[in-house]
């Protein structure tokens, strides 16, 4: 380490000694020396900024810009803390003697600081000269000078532009460095501070709560020094007046001591840590632990906040939903017009089905059906519709069918028969058309007799089927008595049986033209209906209709 230190110092000295315009041209040897010098300076300043993520300035393979960034990373808080300390010492010169000895070689740092201050004074002139001739090539050489420039510029700029944050950093740095123990011991200062804070708290209630971190930092800084308080308060109040922050947190400071008060702004640190993580390839355990601890602290605080946010957002959502009208599913009876199109398809509705669900056709089902079919076929059990027998309501009129065959009787016999029927009505022949039918009826009568004998002649009364016989309209007495002594006018048939009143009453000769037409039309209609029926029958039987040529 001493060698490297020496090497670093050597490099520094060499740089100082070089001819300034030589920085303008790119010179690898010069860049090497300047790198080494900057590293030396960096490591020298390292003990003074405990929060910096870099232990060493990384030089190998790094760009000028990257090196510059590293330096910047270290120098920013350092500068602010230095400024604060300088102010502090300016106010309280006696404290300079009370300076504690930092175990990490503070003496050396002290010396270095003094030297650095001198060097800085010396450098300023050089810097001013060099500023004019700056180019890109001279960036590397300008690292140190840039640092010094920074110090000069930043000290001016920060106060003007950046303002609060850096001051806070500086102040935090100071607080983080080691002012805690001292402050807690001073109880008198505490008491005084409390009084002042109570006054501030009243002001704070009126103002809005602005930046938490910023305000807290400001207020914690107040704890540091009684003397500084006023100034700082003034500064803060000035700053507050500038930025509109209230000192509200100042009053509740002791009660709501927060992480930020002691350890600085979490947000900035988190960013820095992230940047350092990206840059550093290796990290010591201490750094890891520190980072982890810081991360955790940041996590718990922010997760709580996150939870709060979540809950708030949820609450807002729910309130919003309550104000709006409900969805149609929650509205009770809803007609199709009141809900969006096809919305019922997306919802899983539950309602009673009054119909049995359609049967699922599986192999078993088809097999069972086929078995049933086969069984029915073998049995011959077809559910054929059978025509209900129509009961004869009226005696069907005996239709005398026209006999197409040549009559076997001669004309004389026909007339003879007619004469005999006329004379003796009872000798009318049976109304059977066929002799075969006659024979059949005789046979059946014999059979019926035998069956009745089996049932001991106690049979159910015969259903009333009216006799299909031609009632000859002859005088009643003539039927009963053979010798018609007195012929009665009363006929066997009642008048309505003789003639119902239906049918054509008027003769053809009596009809008018319209009536004749009407008759013809009716006949045609009846004939057509009968023809259709006949055609239907023939189609049923499968026979083609024969056209009869008359």
């Amino acid at each position: 380490m001493a060698d490297s230190k020496d090497a670093g110092e050597e490099a520094l000295r060499r740089l100082i000694a070089t001819f300034q315009p030589s920085f303008l041209a790119p010179n690898p040897a010069l860049s090497e020396t300047s790198r080494a010098a900057s590293r030396h300076l960096f490591s020298a300043l390292r003990p003074f900024c405990p929060k910096s993520p870099l232990d060493q300035l990384l030089i190998d393979g790094f760009d000028a810009e990257q090196i510059w960034q590293q330096i910047d990373l270290q120098s920013q808080p350092l500068l602010s803390s230095l400024r604060r300390q300088v102010k502090h010492f300016a106010k309280n010169p006696e404290e300079i003697s009370k300076l504690k000895v930092v175990p990490l070689g503070k003496k050396v740092e002290k010396e270095q600081r003094e030297d650095w201050v001198e060097e800085s004074d010396g450098f300023d002139e050089e810097l001013e000269d060099d500023e004019e001739g700056e180019g890109k090539g001279g960036e590397e050489g300008m690292d140190i000078e840039d640092e010094d420039e920074e110090q000069g510029r930043e000290s001016d700029n920060e106060e003007e532009s950046e303002g609060e944050d850096e001051e806070e950093k500086g102040e935090d740095g100071e607080a983080g460095d080691g002012g805690i123990e001292d402050k807690f011991l001073k109880i008198d200062e505490l008491a005084k501070y409390l009084e002042k804070e109570e006054e501030n708290f009243e002001k704070a209630e009126e103002d809005t709560r602005g930046k938490k971190g910023a305000d807290d930092e400001e207020n914690t800084e107040d704890d540091d020094d009684d003397d500084e308080e006023e100034e700082e308060e003034e500064e803060e109040s000035d700053e507050d007046a500038e930025f509109g922050f209230g000192g509200e947190d100042a009053a509740g400071d002791m009660e709501n001591a927060r992480y930020e008060d002691f350890f600085g702004d979490k947000g900035k640190y988190s960013k820095k840590m992230k940047a350092q993580l990206h840059q550093e390839s290796e990290g010591s355990d201490e750094e890891d632990d520190d980072m982890k601890f810081k991360k955790q602290n940041k996590g718990t605080a922010s997760t709580h906040q996150k939870q709060l946010e979540k809950i708030h957002s949820k609450i807002e959502e729910m309130e919003k939903a309550n104000l709006e009208p409900k969805t149609w599913t929650m509205q009770g009876e809803v007609t199709a017009a009141k809900r969006p199109k096809n919305s019922a398809l997306e919802v899983d509705l539950d309602f009673e089905h009054n119909v049995r669900p359609a049967p699922v056709i599986t192999e078993e089902v088809t097999a069972s059906i086929e078995d049933m079919i086969k069984k029915r076929i073998t049995e011959g059990n077809f559910n054929d519709v059978q025509k209900a027998p129509k009961l004869p309501s009226k005696v069907p009129r005996e239709v005398k069918e026209l006999d197409d065959n040549k009559s076997k009787k001669g004309l004389a016999e026909i007339y003879e028969q007619e004469y005999v029927e006329k004379e003796d009505p009872t000798s009318a022949p049976l109304s059977f058309r066929d002799e075969q039918k006659q024979q059949a009826s005789v046979l059946f009568k014999k059979l019926g007799l035998k069956l009745d004998a089996l049932a001991h002649f106690s049979f159910a009364p015969k259903p009333v089927i009216e006799d299909m016989s031609v009632q000859i309209n002859v005088p009643a007495l003539a039927m009963e008595e053979i010798a018609p002594v007195a012929v009665s006018d009363a006929a066997m048939l009642a008048p309505e049986e003789v003639f119902e009143g239906k049918g054509d009453i008027k003769e053809e000769t009596e009809l008018t033209k319209e009536e004749r037409k009407r008759r013809r039309a009716n006949k045609k209609r009846r004939f057509k209906a009968a023809a259709v029926k006949r055609m239907g029958k023939k189609v049923q039987e499968g026979a083609l209709p024969n056209q009869m040529n008359g």
Binding site: K400, E416, V498, M548
Partner: protein, 217 residues
């Protein structure tokens, strides 16, 4: 004397001569009616009835000679059937009846059917031609004849059975044998057939007619 009697005087009637007894005349015999002369009827035999006559001669001869007491003989040379009254012919109308009977046979009727003429008085024969009803020529005429008889003669038989008549269709001539009313019905049916109505129509008409006839008695 037809003198006016002023007072109520009763003239003694002259003694009436007893009137001669009422003459009792017996009815004139047909022979006597014709002043003892025989009556003749001659019926010509057409060509196509010659053989049937030969076959049915005895059926014709027997009832005429035995029951009607009319002499009958066949004049082969003249091809005529000759009928002559006998002195013991019971009725003067017998001859006419027999002549009608034979004439009916010559028209084409069967002996069995023609015999009815002998037995019943009210039977007549009506003849008419197709051209009397409607002037038909050539095929139309043939078709009309076909319509009249029907397939196998069934239309004709149907009419015969329904109306209790006998019909003979001899080419264009039609003869109907039956009672007056029945002849009318049969004639109407045949005329409608000639005019062109189909057989079914004629049947339905016949059915109605016969039903009415049957209901009458």
């Amino acid at each position: 004397s037809n003198m006016v009697l002023s007072s109520m005087e009763v003239e003694a009637a002259p003694e009436a001569k007893p009137l001669p007894p009422k003459p009792k005349f017996e009815p004139l015999k047909p022979h006597e009616m014709s002043d003892g002369q025989f009556q003749f009827r001659k019926v010509s035999v057409p060509q196509h009835r010659y053989n049937p006559l030969k076959k049915a001669w005895m059926d014709i001869y027997t009832p005429i000679y035995e029951q009607m007491k009319i002499d009958i003989r066949m004049n082969l040379k003249a091809r005529k059937v000759e009928l002559k009254t006998r002195p013991d012919t019971p009725d003067i109308s017998n001859l006419q009846k027999c002549a009608d009977f034979v004439h009916a046979f010559m028209m084409g009727f069967d002996v069995v059917d023609a015999i009815a003429l002998l037995r019943l008085d009210e039977l007549y024969v009506e003849s008419f031609e197709i051209k009397d009803v409607k002037t038909l020529r050539g095929d139309h005429l043939s078709r009309a004849i076909g319509r009249l008889s029907g397939k196998g003669g069934k239309t004709k038989f149907a009419i015969e059975n329904a109306t209790k008549t006998k019909i003979v269709i001899a080419d264009t001539k039609i003869h109907i044998l039956g009672s007056f009313a029945n002849i009318k019905i049969a004639r109407d049916s045949l005329c409608s057939l000639i005019m062109g109505s189909p057989a079914g129509k004629v049947y339905s008409k016949l059915r109605a007619v016969t039903a009415r006839l049957a209901e009458r008695f």
